[in-house]
Symmetry: C2
Subunit: 347 residues, 2 copies
Amino acid sequence: MARLVGRGAGTAPRSIDVAQLAGVSQKTVSRVMNGEQYVSDDVRRRVLEAAEALGYRLNHAARALASGRTRSIGVVTLGTALYGPASLLMGVERAVRDTGYALHVVNTVEGDAAGLAGAVDSLLDQGVDGIVISEPIDEQGGADLTLRVDVPVLVLSAPPPFAARRVVTAGLVSHQLARAVTEHLLDLGHETVHHLAGPQRWFAARDRLEGWRATLAAHGRREPPVLAGDWSAASGYRAGRELVEADDVTAVFAANDDMAIGLIRALLESGRRVPEDVSVVGLDDVPVAAYVTPPLTTVRQPFDATAQDGLKRLVHAIENPDADPVPAQDPPVDLVVRESTAPPPNR
Amino acid sequence: MARLVGRGAGTAPRSIDVAQLAGVSQKTVSRVMNGEQYVSDDVRRRVLEAAEALGYRLNHAARALASGRTRSIGVVTLGTALYGPASLLMGVERAVRDTGYALHVVNTVEGDAAGLAGAVDSLLDQGVDGIVISEPIDEQGGADLTLRVDVPVLVLSAPPPFAARRVVTAGLVSHQLARAVTEHLLDLGHETVHHLAGPQRWFAARDRLEGWRATLAAHGRREPPVLAGDWSAASGYRAGRELVEADDVTAVFAANDDMAIGLIRALLESGRRVPEDVSVVGLDDVPVAAYVTPPLTTVRQPFDATAQDGLKRLVHAIENPDADPVPAQDPPVDLVVRESTAPPPNR
DNA sequence: CTGAAAGCGCTAACAC
DNA sequence: GTGTTAGCGCTTTCAG
């Protein structure tokens, strides 16, 4: 009639087994496991010992079912090993670990229109308590995501792609990074600065373009034609081949380091010296940037700071549904001057 | 007394709501949702329509609780944006998506001894159905993981760090990559090949070292002293400074591209020409490898193929507990010859 | 092919 | 401080 004490060997121990061994009620075990107060030290100790002895581990599915919360956060991220997105994802993972939440990751594919919607949907399906969107591209068709996203959302390095009830953002700083680069080159004495832009479907690429443009305008400089790249060193190389046709180029701001590296390669191949003839700046500060020839001047992206700040605020929103959103804290810009920039050549 | 038909607006619809609307039993809804057979087409259609109308989504927590399976796979990965680990993680994510499982990611920190054990434990805690270990380092203290890992495990690019019941591996090919590189250099006519090794706590680093060593031995060549690096371009640069002291170096195999790039930088700075005086080969084929100066000869790592093959076999092990393990399929070695290698200089 | 009943292991609300 | 009683929304028997 009554359940026998020992269960099958293949079965995991449950809180009620712990309770039995510790001589308390099952609810008390639950209290101890959740670190609630109002449990005497003695009871707490006994429960912990019993749990240890049995090798008990809490069943998250049961908890989620009973409580309606999964204590997990979902991330939507672009499936690419590009330095920026990959670094940001690492930052998110590091930051999530500190929060005590588990992490669900869903990748999107570049060029897949319904990607973001589908990814968010699958996370909602999994019952995550919050969502991080690290999706640097805006495809069509995100608009109908308005519905049903009733968990807090953190959008990284992009404006919110849809209307949800509780959205926070972090990492909208590309504009400033671009300004720092452009001003560095103008300060060196260059009359103007060319720009090798990233693919314009990426927010970061548009932001950098606008930051560059605004800075030139603010200094009353003419704006040369924009070069178009796709983040790859190969596209930087192609842009460099174009650029050597023009005789008036003395400074180029490439929207990321890889393109800068490809660009420099093309310049060197065609006999231009860097930085004596042309200064080149990248953006990211990838690990090899200091060791290419010439060592690359660039701006560091604050991935970890962005992820940490964003996650702190996301968790706050999850755990305090009615509290005011915490304002973002933009990290300082970190320009790294190396040997790919110099004053313009004398005419 | 009886539960009212409409529930609160904030409450998600349940399968029983769908059943009611479709005029069938709740169990039938469950059958349809799981794609089971023995459901008439008419009933199936009606259920699907009702689900659609209600915006029904299956509750994974409830399913997991009732079935004992979560349909999720956990990944333990080293928290780094290094090209290798990051690319492999992307490959895993892509591959998992095709399987219909959700992905839990847990990062470990380099230097954290209990890292792997803790990470596996937290995944087991979450009730994952299978585990992927993409942990390129072996720290101490992994040995006591033997216990309780009763789900299938896929170990990537490393030998299994512990004894579990059902373990499969994939991506143990560093040895071959190293051989291909070393033979390429010997074929060019170099008398021997120096090696700039990665940190020896990494399996991949040890494998490459051994592959290089075995190849030299097989060709009866003397083995020069090993240079030690840490994967970074900075360490490659330092190794390069050392290397220029020795006069007999004509060929170097760096265990990854970043170190090769740093090494080349040091050689160029001290007046050596690459490849005329010294040939350098990397390993990875990072995206910029073709655009550094000189363009880098390297070996591509088959991350996607490894991840896909591994995951297919992991899922097989999950879903067929008693089946024989499927053998691994090693992808072909892909040597990319560019301009950083040439025959040795005449003496 | 379909349905009824009985839990899965936990938390929530309330008693004591 | 602690225990009792109900479910959470599914899947799993087992009947038809």
